[in-house]
């Protein structure tokens, strides 16, 4: 993976109050999820290490919601409710960015797979590598 070129891509919520940037290669693994939370927010996950994500505007406008184990920190814009990114329980060392919130997916190949979040315990380990920093 090292040496792979990344492009910083911008995105944000609907009202424009929260903005972020994420460094992505041209082809990106992404996940839909059928858990109770993701199904209700339509979240399409792009999980990245800490170093490939930054909040560029509106961190103070984020509301935090957590439930069950309270490990995941679900963040949404207090104004428009949009969940642009959050700290996932599967990858608390990284971030999950919502592909729906990228300004454009032009030139980006999203390889979307269905993650079975209804059986989270059996499947979450398969995502852990996505937030690992390069050695």
């Amino acid at each position: 993976m090292s040496g792979e070129p990344f492009t910083w891509r911008a995105g944000g919520c609907h009202c424009g109050g929260v903005r972020f940037e994420v460094a992505l290669p041209e082809a990106v693994e992404a996940q839909t999820c059928n858990c109770s939370m993701c199904a209700k927010t339509g979240f399409i996950h792009i999980i990245v290490p800490q170093s490939r994500f930054r909040i560029t505007k509106g961190a103070e406008r984020l509301s935090e919601y957590s439930f069950n184990t309270r490990v995941a920190k679900h963040l949404f814009c207090a104004e428009c409710g949009v969940k642009s990114f959050y700290r996932p329980r599967s990858n608390p060392d990284g971030w999950s960015v919502n592909a729906r919130c990228l300004d454009t997916t032009e030139g980006l190949e999203l390889r979307i797979e269905a993650f079975d979040g209804q059986n989270w315990e059996a499947n979450a380990a398969g995502l852990a590598h996505l937030s690992k920093e390069p050695a």
Binding site: K40, S63, V82
Partner: protein, 145 residues
């Protein structure tokens, strides 16, 4: 008579009950392609022959407005979920409900039909909403359903 369909936002602070005025399989199921609905992954239903009851705990609703500010967008203050958009018409309130946001049963296995309303005039938009949206009552009180 078809039984009421019930659902709620993730945390449960906003609860809905839809009394279908026709078989559930015949209810519209749409994915509006606007920037708001896309970011919320919304998949909505509305039907003038049905009745929608929305009940929210006091202070649980974040009323968001955007664009022409004609619709009152109901978001959960606690969990952020988009529940419904509502307008005030002569005969009362009308709404379109985010089926995905409240995990309303009865739509499993159906793909929402993409819908684009970008080119509508204000008049055409209001006329469409009056013709299609669901008569609705919003009660902001302690949940009982």
């Amino acid at each position: 008579m078809t039984a009421a369909l019930v659902g709620h936002c993730h945390c449960g602070a906003i609860r809905v009950s839809l009394e279908p005025g026709r078989p559930v399989a015949e209810l519209a199921y749409r994915a509006c392609q606007c920037g708001f609905c896309r970011r919320h992954g919304a998949a909505t239903t509305s039907d003038p022959a049905s009745f929608l009851h929305i009940e929210a705990a006091p202070g649980a609703v974040n009323h968001y407005r955007f664009g022409r500010r004609a619709a009152d967008v109901l978001l959960c203050e606690e969990c952020g979920v988009y529940v419904a958009s509502m307008i005030q018409a002569e005969g009362g309130r009308l709404a379109t409900l985010n089926v995905a946001g409240v995990a309303l049963p009865g739509f499993e296995g159906r793909a929402p039909e993409p819908a684009t309303y970008d080119d509508e005039t204000d008049e055409a938009r209001l006329a469409r909403r009056r013709a299609r949206w669901t008569p609705t009552v919003l009660v902001e009180a302690q949940p009982s359903i």
